[in-house]
C-alpha cells in the first residue's frame, strides 16, 4: 500500500477490551484526518470487525494503526496480524458466504466494502494479515 506514515501505534489484541482500544485509536486518527461522521463510522467499524476476528478466530494478535498521507490527502491505515488457523478460501470469505464463527463472512466482506484499499494474506495454518486504508474526502 502506498503513502507515507505520519504517525503509528502498535497495539496488542489480547482481550475483548483491546478491540475497543484499537477502535478508539482508529477513531482518534480518523478525527485527526478530519473524516466526516460517515467515514469515521465506516473505518471504526471495519477496525472493530477485524480486531474481533483476530480475537475470536486466533485468540489474539497484533494491530498497527497509522495516520498516512499521499498527494496531500490524509488517511487511516490499519494492519491486523495473527498466528491463528488462517483462512482456507479467501475468495469465498470475501464473497460473504463463508463463515466459521457465524459473523466472519459478513464481517470480512463488509469491512472490505467500508474502506478504500483492502489486502489479505492468509493460508491455512500460517496465520492471517489484513491491511486496509481509508482516505479522507475533501
Amino acid at each position: 500500500m502506498s503513502g507515507e506514515t505520519l504517525e503509528r501505534s502498535e497495539m496488542k489484541i489480547d482481550s475483548e477490551d483491546d478491540i475497543i482500544l484499537v477502535r478508539r485509536k482508529v477513531r482518534d486518527f480518523a478525527s485527526a484526518c478530519a473524516f466526516d461522521v460517515f467515514a469515521t463510522s465506516a473505518v471504526t467499524t471495519a477496525a472493530s470487525e477485524l480486531a474481533r476476528n483476530v480475537w475470536t478466530h486466533a485468540g489474539g494478535g497484533f494491530a498497527t494503526v497509522e495516520k498516512v498521507s499521499e498527494d496531500a490527502r490524509l488517511g487511516v491505515r490499519a494492519e491486523f496480524r495473527d498466528n491463528g488457523p488462517g483462512i482456507p478460501d479467501i475468495e469465498r470469505v470475501l464473497a460473504g458466504g463463508y463463515s466459521t464463527a457465524r459473523t466472519m463472512g459478513l464481517g470480512l466482506s463488509g469491512s472490505k466494502r467500508l474502506v478504500d484499499e483492502f489486502e489479505i494474506e492468509s493460508a491455512p495454518g500460517r496465520g492471517t494479515r489484513i491491511t486496509f486504508t481509508k482516505w479522507a474526502r475533501y
Binding site: E16, D17, I20, R23, R27, V37, F38, T40, S41, A42, T44, T45, S48, E49, R52, G96, R102, T103, L106, G107, S109, G110, S111, R113, L114
Partner: protein, 122 residues
C-alpha cells in the same frame, strides 16, 4: 438483574437503553435480563434504544437481532430505536441483513408504534 444495561417498564412495554460497549459478557447478561424481565412482568413489547452506541459492528448487530428473536419466542415484539445515521449507512454498506427487526427513529416513535398496534387489535 445481573447486567449493566437497565431495563425499564412502561406499561406493557420494556425499554432497554444500551449505553455501554456490548462485550460478550454484557451481551449475554443483557439477553438473559430481557428474557427474565419479560417473564416476570408479562410485557408484550420491547424497545431497544441504541442512540448511545457509536459503533455497531456485525457482532453487536447480531446480539441485537438475536435479542429480538429471543423476545419473539416469548411472545413479545421488539422495536430497535435511535440508530444514528452513520451507523445505518455503515450497516447497509456492509450488506448486513438487519431486515428481521422492526425499527423506529427514536424512543418516542418506538413507543407510539406499540400504541398504534394495540389500537388496531381492539
Amino acid at each position: 438483574m445481573n447486567g449493566s444495561i437497565p431495563i425499564l417498564r412502561i406499561g406493557e412495554i420494556l425499554v432497554a437503553s444500551v449505553q455501554t460497549e456490548l462485550r460478550d459478557r454484557v451481551a449475554n447478561a443483557f439477553q438473559e435480563d430481557v428474557l427474565n424481565t419479560l417473564e416476570t412482568t408479562g410485557a408484550t413489547g420491547l424497545v431497544i434504544d441504541i442512540s448511545g452506541l457509536e459503533v455497531v459492528d456485525t457482532y453487536v448487530a447480531r446480539v441485537l437481532a438475536e435479542t429480538g428473536q429471543m423476545a419473539k419466542l416469548m411472545g413479545a415484539s421488539t422495536v430497535l430505536v435511535g440508530m444514528r445515521p452513520e451507523i445505518a449507512a455503515t450497516l447497509i454498506r456492509m450488506a448486513y441483513p438487519m431486515g428481521g427487526i422492526d425499527t423506529a427513529l427514536n424512543l418516542q416513535e418506538g413507543l407510539a408504534l406499540f400504541g398504534r398496534r394495540k389500537k388496531k387489535k381492539k
